[in-house]
């Protein structure tokens, strides 16, 4: 019955959302070796406390969100767009309203992956 404040839609019941997974995972590049992929896919912390996770606003704006949630109390301390570039746009739009906190100050979003092989034209600032 938890409430999630979608940066785009406002406060909504969690029934509108679909839980994604661990939001702290840095997925390796598509051509990374087996060990990296294995670790990214199968090794998970079992956190007792604040956890970064991804949620998808399925019955809403269809945006993927990064949510900081306490696994014990369900307290949610932050919700941001998973796509940090969108967070930056939101923040600048909210300057009049006292500013927003939807973007990370450095780098791109905490979640992301390395580049795919053979796609050097795409900017990639999150290579592990």
């Amino acid at each position: 019955m938890i409430l999630i404040e979608c940066p785009f839609c406002g406060v909504r019941d969690h029934a509108e959302f679909r839980y994604g997974g661990d939001g702290s995972i840095h997925y390796p590049a598509l051509d990374a070796d087996l060990e990296h992929w294995h670790d990214a896919l199968y090794l998970r912390e079992n956190i007792d406390g604040m956890q970064l996770e991804t949620w998808h606003h399925v019955f809403g704006c269809r945006q993927w969100l990064l949510v900081e949630r306490d696994t014990v109390s369900h307290e949610i301390s932050s919700v941001k767009p998973a796509n940090n570039d969108i967070g930056v746009i939101l923040d600048s739009a909210l300057t009049d309203a006292g500013g927003g906190t939807f973007s990370s100050s450095v780098g791109s979003s905490p979640v992301g992956s390395g580049d795919a092989s053979g796609s050097s034209h795409v900017p990639d600032n999150k290579k592990e």
Binding site: D33, L41, Q63, A82, I86
Partner: protein, 1054 residues
């Protein structure tokens, strides 16, 4: 005749008689009665039979904690089992009957199980059914040594379930309807007793939006039953304030659970208090509603429940709590008996004894405490109540009704309380006042453990920082004045602190988009009042106030189990009457090493009946503490879970029933399909044509005709349910290239490609087609089953993993409707629709070609020449609104070519013949190679899943691979789901399995697809058996290449 209506008492209307039936007998009650008070007034003493021992049981309480008067109401499809007579309102024509007894509760032949009682002790089920069952007759011991207990259980279950149990539910469909609803408020107040009413009124007067819920049909709580004239006028004032302040009130509504982020679940009984006909007439009124309420703050003014004490045969009809007797007298005008014994360990019973005496009963009061207060003594004497201190009841005597009690006396000088038998007293009712237990169940739902308070001998709220406040008796404040003043004070303070934090919008949760920071401030956890609010008073320094809060002259004497000195009395003393758990059971559990209270609960089933131990839990814990030489705090308490009282499954289900159980998706051609003879079937949420039978045709005959027609001429199939996704943007090509296993970047404009997506772990997610409409514009189709999952996956990849890619992903499944046109004459048919037939000739629309054209009628279409059937075939998509027109046009042409409409059954035949996979094969466990799609794996690029697909376990050539399956004897049929085994060893997982079968008119026999270890090459010339152990069939089969028709694929390229 011992119980009696007393004129001038109560809130019932003596002029409004209500007829109802009890066990087939017509009785009369009064308007304002509960079923319990009406039965009591009619001197019905045995109302049910107990769970295990079939002991006669009567009224034990006057509220939700009732463990005795559990009855059935209604009949037929409205038969309702396990109704507490104490909460069922009386209405004209109410049918009620006893349960768990045959032929009736008064003469129950199963009571013999009471004589076998020593076999039914704690752990009976575990001991009997988990170990070896040597005691069973040989025919029931068929199991191999392991699991014998389970077999024994299966053998005995029927018999035991009939003997031990509760009422039987109706097996008929439920004729009533139910609703679910949502509500929002600033303050939710649970319980409309003195504390709740005052808190609600004060908060609302200060401007808060308050929702007050009360499980009873009347507001007032204790004020309704105290018998104090001043309370009646106080209640009238409070009700006026509530109304004027705009408090929203829900009566007959139970807050059954508290959940995260300020959510409460409410169960509203809308029509249970009315004759069935009235609610049926109203028709649109649901029987129950299940509410989800969101609030900023919750007040629990849930009161307290009176405990009983454990003495021999403390469950005899006629024994009830003192508070219950007070309620029956003052609220329902029923004096429970002429001759009454009151046994107590605290002050609260004194008022009851006095009131009963004033109402004409002969009363004897036994107080376990060493002394009785002077003032009380005078008052008792003035009303002729006999009393004795340091006295209690050792044993109740009587069977279907209590006849007398044996008094026990203690030596007040001795530190150890043991009770020596003294005289016996005649009585018709025994009222027990064992102390009060605050109702903290809802707090427990939020993970807040109650704490034992020695002074008040009860559990009190533990410390917490949640936006919940416990007020009144629920907070172990038993003094009326302190209850009301405390509640008012709290509500005033809360309102003030709320006004200060102006950032909190008053209607925050009503759907308005709040500003982000304001929202964070407003989240229930961050409410400033929550931090300051410390509703628990269990600190040592507040203990001083505890006695005052009790409102009693003297402390309670904590007495739970009454232990006679010397020989035991032999009777059973119950701690949990509803589940027939006795003191001896708890002691046995302790002796057998059940130290944790949670283990003891499960072993003895204490507190696991429908009342969740409302009366018995504290008693059980106290007995356990004594048995193990620990204090009650050391033993701890069990966790209460929702629901507080039973909630109907109908309410939880709401309207999600039958056709509304899940959404139904229909294609825009649905009606057209129906009008052309389609029989529909469910495909996920979709309704899809299954087959189009002609008169007299069976399903199989139809499918044979349809698939043969497609291979011979042309057929039309509604394929709208396929998932359709628009992938657009400068990086669309790069995006799709990473997602699909094959190369999509090299796909030229105006062409389509079959494509497969893997998951991260290298297993197949889905297959479909990918059309390149323009440089930056792709149209992707998915399977019907995986459409939603693929959409979510692509959104995750584009937003979370590769936010740098400039790509837009939109579902267009509902925007485009599609028809597959398949068969050798399909091009000819398509040409009929065009101004210029050359638009669809082999040059302009080659195999895997894509075109966007208008038909002769100006209908814009997207056409791709792709084939699932293996024939020359096209998929035509139009905007959804045009779909009926499109298929109508196509059908006119097809009919002239001896073509057909075909459904899923024929579609399945065509794809099995060709070895094309669907969800039956792509079940989340197969690799590209397993599915025979190895050629789809690009060697020149990386893609999602490419790294992990290379794991040794996934590349083993001996993995099960896709094969075709044919019967050795062409006349044989076999089933999907069969296990493929070697003839010599039909067991276990075999060598593979069958995923789909079809009757193939093309080949003249049944065929199938499936997976076999190593693929068909490994099994050449070796027969297998398709074993179907469920239907007990074995068919000899051979495995072949999955491409069973036109293996070279010449037809679709022509």
């Amino acid at each position: 005749m011992t119980a009696k209506r007393i004129a001038g008492y109560g809130r019932v209307n003596p002029d409004e008689l209500i007829e109802f039936s009890w066990d087939g007998q017509t009785l009369t009650g009064l308007s304002g009665d509960t079923l319990a008070s009406a039965l009591l007034a009619n001197n019905q003493t045995v109302l049910s039979r107990s769970f295990k021992y079939h002991r006669p049981r009567g009224l034990m309480s006057a509220g939700v904690e009732e463990s005795g008067a559990i009855v059935s109401t209604g009949s037929g499809d409205r038969l309702e089992a396990n109704v507490r007579a104490t909460t069922q309102e009386l209405y004209s024509g109410l049918q009620a009957s006893g349960q768990n007894a045959w032929p009736s509760v008064r003469f129950d032949l199963s009571e013999v199980s009471n004589l076998l009682a020593r076999f039914f002790g704690a752990g009976f089920y575990y001991k009997t059914f988990m170990g070896p069952a040597h005691w069973l007759p040989a025919f029931a011991r068929t199991a191999r040594s392991a699991g014998a207990g389970t077999r024994a259980w299966m053998f005995c279950e029927k018999w035991i379930r009939r003997a031990a149990g509760m009422g039987a539910a109706s097996a008929l469909p439920d004729p009533d309807h139910y609703e679910q609803a949502h509500a929002f408020c600033d303050l939710l107040v649970v319980g409309a007793g003195p504390a709740g009413l005052n808190a609600a009124a004060s908060a609302a007067e200060a401007g808060a939006d308050v929702l007050l819920v009360e499980q009873d049909f009347e507001l007032g709580g204790y004020l309704l039953s105290s018998g104090d004239k001043a309370h009646a006028s106080e209640l009238a004032v409070l009700l006026k304030r509530i109304e004027q302040a705009g408090v929203r009130v829900m009566r007959r509504t139970t807050a059954f659970g508290l959940y995260d982020h300020g959510v409460a679940g409410l169960f509203e009984r809308v029509t249970d208090h009315q004759p069935v006909s009235a609610s049926v007439d109203a028709h649109c009124i649901p029987r129950h509603r299940c509410w989800t309420v969101r609030c900023q703050h919750t007040v629990l003014a849930t009161g307290a429940i009176e405990r009983t004490m454990a003495f021999a045969d403390n469950d005899r009809p006629g024994i009830m709590t003192a508070g219950a007797a007070q309620t029956y007298l003052n609220r329902f005008a029923v004096r429970c008996a002429q001759r009454v014994v009151v046994v107590c360990n605290n002050d609260s019973a004194y008022e009851v004894a006095l009131q009963l005496a004033i109402a004409g009963a002969g009363v004897t009061l036994l107080d376990a405490r060493a002394e009785i207060d002077e003032v009380w003594q005078q008052r008792l004497q003035s009303q002729g109540v006999e009393y004795q201190s340091a006295a209690t009841v050792l044993r109740a005597v009587g069977h279907n009704r209590i006849r007398k009690v044996q008094v026990g006396l203690r030596d007040v000088a001795s530190p150890q309380a043991s009770w020596r038998p003294a005289e016996t007293l005649e009585c018709e009712a025994l009222l027990v006042a064992g102390g009060w237990s605050p109702v903290l169940h809802l707090l427990s739902h939020r993970g807040i453990k109650p704490v034992w308070c020695e002074t008040r001998a009860c559990y009190v709220p533990g410390k917490h920082a949640q936006p919940i406040t416990v007020l009144g008796a629920a907070n172990a404040v038993f003094d009326h004045k302190q209850c009301t003043e405390g509640a008012t004070q709290w509500a005033t303070g809360w309102s003030a602190s709320r006004a200060v934090s102006t950032a909190v919008p008053g209607r925050l949760l009503h759907g308005r988009r709040p500003r982000p920071q304001a929202l964070l401030d407003a989240l229930p956890n961050a409410l400033p009042v929550a931090a300051k609010d410390n509703s628990s008073n269990n600190d040592a320094d507040t203990e001083v106030d505890a006695r005052m809060a009790s409102g009693w002259q003297q402390d309670l004497y904590p007495l739970f189990e009454i232990v006679p000195s010397g020989e035991g009395t032999g009777g059973k003393s119950f701690v949990d009457p509803q589940h027939d758990v006795t003191v001896a059971d708890v002691q046995l559990a302790s002796r057998e090493g059940f130290v944790s209270v949670e283990h003891m609960k499960r072993y003895t089933t204490l507190g696991m009946a429908t009342d969740q131990g409302k009366m018995g839990n504290v008693l059980g814990i106290a007995v356990m503490a004594a048995a193990s030489g620990r204090s009650i705090s050391e033993v701890g308490t069990t966790t209460f879970r929702p629901p507080y009282t039973p909630v109907s499954l109908g309410a939880l289900r709401g309207r999600s029933r039958g056709a509304h159980f899940r959404p139904t998706r229909r294609t825009p051609m649905h009606d057209w399909n129906l009008s052309h003879g389609a029989t529909m079937m469910d495909a996920g949420l979709w309704q899809r044509p299954w087959f189009y039978a002609e008169p007299g045709e069976s399903m199989l005959q139809t499918a044979d005709r349809e698939s043969a027609t497609v291979r011979r001429s042309v057929g039309l199939c509604d394929v709208t349910s396929l998932g359709k996704i628009a992938v657009q943007g400068p990086d669309a090509a790069e995006f799709l290239n990473r997602v699909y296993t094959n190369n999509m970047a090299s796909l030229v404009i105006g062409k389509a490609r079959y494509g497969v997506m893997l998951r991260d772990d290298g297993l197949v997610l889905d297959d479909g087609t990918c059309w390149r409409l323009a440089e930056h514009d792709y149209f992707v189709t998915t399977t019907t089953a995986q459409a939603a999952a693929v959409m979510v996956w692509l959104e995750e990849l584009s937003q979370v993993r590769w936010p740098q890619l400039q790509v837009h992903i939109n579902s267009v499944t509902d925007q485009w409707a599609g028809v597959a046109v398949a068969g050798p004459r399909s091009r000819e048919l398509l040409a009929l629709l065009m101004d210029n037939p050359d638009q669809v000739n082999n040059e302009n629309l080659p195999f895997m070609g894509v075109t966007r054209v208008e038909t002769a009628d100006g209908l814009p279409c997207r056409i791709a020449r792709i084939s699932f059937s293996g024939e020359l075939a096209y998929e035509i998509y139009v905007e959804s609104d045009y779909a009926p027109y499109l298929i109508d046009q196509l059908w006119r042409g097809a009919a002239s070519m001896d073509g057909c409409l075909y459904g899923l059954e024929a579609l399945n035949t065509l794809r099995v013949e060709k070895g094309h996979v669907t969800g039956a094969e792509l079940d989340g466990r197969v690799t590209l190679q397993d599915a025979g799609l190895g050629v789809m794996a690009a060697q020149t690029k990386s893609y999602i899943g490419s790294t992990l697909a290379a794991r040794a376990g996934l590349t083993d050539t001996n993995r099960p691979r896709l094969v075709g399956i044919m019967p050795i004897d062409a006349g044989d049929t076999f089933n999907a789901g069969s296990i493929l085994c070697q003839q010599s060893d039909i067991s276990g997982y075999g060598e593979g399995w069958v995923t789909g079968v079809a009757s193939s008119p093309e080949l003249g026999h049944w065929i199938g697809l499936g997976f076999v270890n190593g693929g068909h090459q490994a099994w050449e010339n070796r027969a297998l058996v398709a074993a179907d152990p469920v239907r007990d069939r074995q068919v000899a089969v051979k495995v072949v290449s999955p491409h069973m028709v036109d293996a070279e694929g010449e037809r679709l390229r022509g």
